[in-house]
């Protein structure tokens, strides 16, 4: 067991765990976070997605020791119930979830993609989300929510 210091959702925290423990288990069990969830355990579905240094990563296969000094952001780190992040608000407005289990993968992947490429086309968004599974088939509403967020982001962008 090692003491490991992590910065998660803006807060620095120390956990005492086996350094090989997948980051997902640390987030769920040591830090009590509910956003990232165990889906396949094989980095194939996206339910466990988190942002690490702005990149979407699958936390179920990443040992906690590999995080290093990079900051981890989970779905609950974007916004709150009272003040959701604009992409979360777009999903709320579109009712873009049925069971909702896959949302970390969907929302964080879309956000990371649009942060990197704000003018992404629908096709590019679809390709980016190709590796994120939603078994309820809520895709149409999700894509609508993502488009709404992307358009809002463009409209609010300050011209360089």
């Amino acid at each position: 067991m090692d003491e490991i210091s992590l910065k998660v959702n803006g807060r620095r925290q120390t956990v005492t765990v086996d350094p090989e423990t997948p980051l997902l288990f640390v987030l769920n069990d040591e830090l009590g976070l509910r956003g990232p969830r165990f889906g396949c355990g094989l980095a194939q579905c996206g339910s466990c997605a988190v942002l690490i240094g702005g990149q979407v990563m699958r936390s179920c296969v990443m040992p906690v020791k590999a995080v290093g000094s990079r900051e981890v952001t989970t779905l609950e780190g974007l916004g709150t119930l009272e003040k959701p992040h604009p992409i979360q608000q777009a999903f709320i407005d579109e009712g873009a979830a049925q069971c909702g289990f896959c949302l970390s993968g969907v929302i964080l992947t879309a956000k990371a993609m649009l942060d990197a490429k704000p003018a992404a086309s629908d096709e590019e968004i679809r390709v980016a989300l190709g590796g994120v599974l939603c078994r309820c088939f809520t895709h149409t509403r999700m894509l609508k929510a993502i488009r709404k967020y992307a358009d809002g982001k463009k409209a609010n962008a300050v011209p360089a």
Binding site: V17, D18, E20, T21, P22, F25, N28, D29, G32, L33, R34, G35, P36, R37, F38, G39, C40, G41, L42, C45, S47, T74, L75, E76, L78, G79, T80, L81, P84, Q88, Q89, F91, I92, D93, G95, A96, A97, Q98, C99, G100, F101, C102, L103, S104, I107, L133, C134, R135, C136
Partner: protein, 562 residues
Amino acid sequence: MQSRREFLRTGGALVVSFGAGSTLVAQGPFDTHPSHIDPKKLDSWLAVGADGMVTAHTGKCDFGQGIYTAQSQLVAEELCVPLSRVKLIQCDTDVTPDQGTTSGSQSTPTNFNAENLALAAATAREALLGMAAAKWGVEADTLRVKDGVISDGSARSVRYEELIGGKRFDLAVNRSAKRRPAAEWTVMGKPIHALEQAALMTGQFEYVQAVRVPGMLHGRVVRPLGMGATLVSVDRASVAKIPGVRVVVRKNFVGVVAETQHHATMAARQLSVKWNPGPALPAQSTYYEHLQKQPSRDSLSVDSGDSSREFSVRARYTYPHQMHGSVGPSCAVADVKADGVTVWSATQSVYPTRSIVAKLLDVPIEKVHVQFVRGSGCYGLNGADAVSFDAAMLSQAVGKPVRLQYSRQDEMMWENLGAACVIEQRASLDAGGKIAAWDREDWVTSLGSRPGYDKTGNVISGVLVGFEPDSPKPGAARAPTGRLRNQSNTVPCYFAACIGGSCQGGGTIRRERALTHTVKSPFFTGPLRSPLRIQIHSRTNVSWMSCARQRRRIRWRSGSRI
């Protein structure tokens, strides 16, 4: 921190007043088992708190289909209170009436029509109006109610909580209570998003996977490779080096628990277990032909009795076993103590699950509490029931609360799959190109299914500890009843130009038969939204209808496959 039960007890003072204790048979088409919460009593269904909050109880739970929101709207509408003032508690054997299983698209008919939750809310509204009328010495039908405030049209008004707040109604649900007419609806019929959307999108929602209780250990199961395998030996030394691991063995059930998920996962992977393999599986390449050769339990939905086997058009449809494929594999938390058992479960059937847990643990059913907590999307009988049983067995064995998370492999290999089937369609057309004869024969696989209240062997957990699954007993078909029982949509509606009636010479068909052979499946099967119904039988029937009728134009080849 409060425990969940303490929260329920203290957070809802009015919950204490709910009508538990009596033993009566539940009513309604889906309430088939005695329940300890009397659905005839209004207090079993809802209460108005001193703060005006309405707490309502339902035995139909939400796993993503939106019924939590819809039922909350129903209660708000019938009681004439704002939606924000309704708190719905779903599927908890300590407080909600037994409404069987949330399945088969039956939640709306069960709770929105002429009984149960809808009627309870309507009864409560009428009772409150009656109380206000008595207080003011006027007729109840002269009063109005809006947002939980009753008024007489002048200056007098009274709030629900002033009349009943925190107290029992002590009334029976009135079967003739008047429902709010649709024309006056202010809450129902208005499109809103599911109430939990914001919690979902911000990662705050509590799935059963997120339930944590003090002192909880993490469990994993170790399964054999196939049905019918038996345990030879378990080498506990193979995991001795992993911190805090305990191995649990009960007949052919093998599991591990540890203080962390990481160590439980490692132990499940590394535990050395020897199995005697069960019977080999049939070859996949000839699976459907294999099914058609198996002994079967036959049933005739309809048979005109004409023995002629000549048809001019034929087609054969095959449909594979399908998994539910929930994104998150099933998970449950169980806490088995000497004085009682609590299971947090994503089951669609809290009361049946309670009954099976009692049987598996050999404890009195009264001591078992099953509380529904939503899991990953469920589309029929996925692993949610089995994981609840397994978690309870692990907790009982180690004397601590256990959270059991299935791996993707556990879920895929052992959930009750959708039934594979073969469907053969045959027809003859008359000179005018109309269908004159229609013969439909299908082979459907079956093994296990929902455990219900007493079929412990219908899912993997029960079989591993020695219970038998339901399996079709071969036998010839009995005569058709003459009435088309089209529950599984095996009977083409075109046969009879009606569903649930009989043909009686209507339409163009003069010769008709629908014969089903149910054969034993090599895999567990169960409901999956739902191959026996809409997705398969109806689709093949409809597809066949179009094909058969276009025979002249498309030159259908005899015996061709679709």
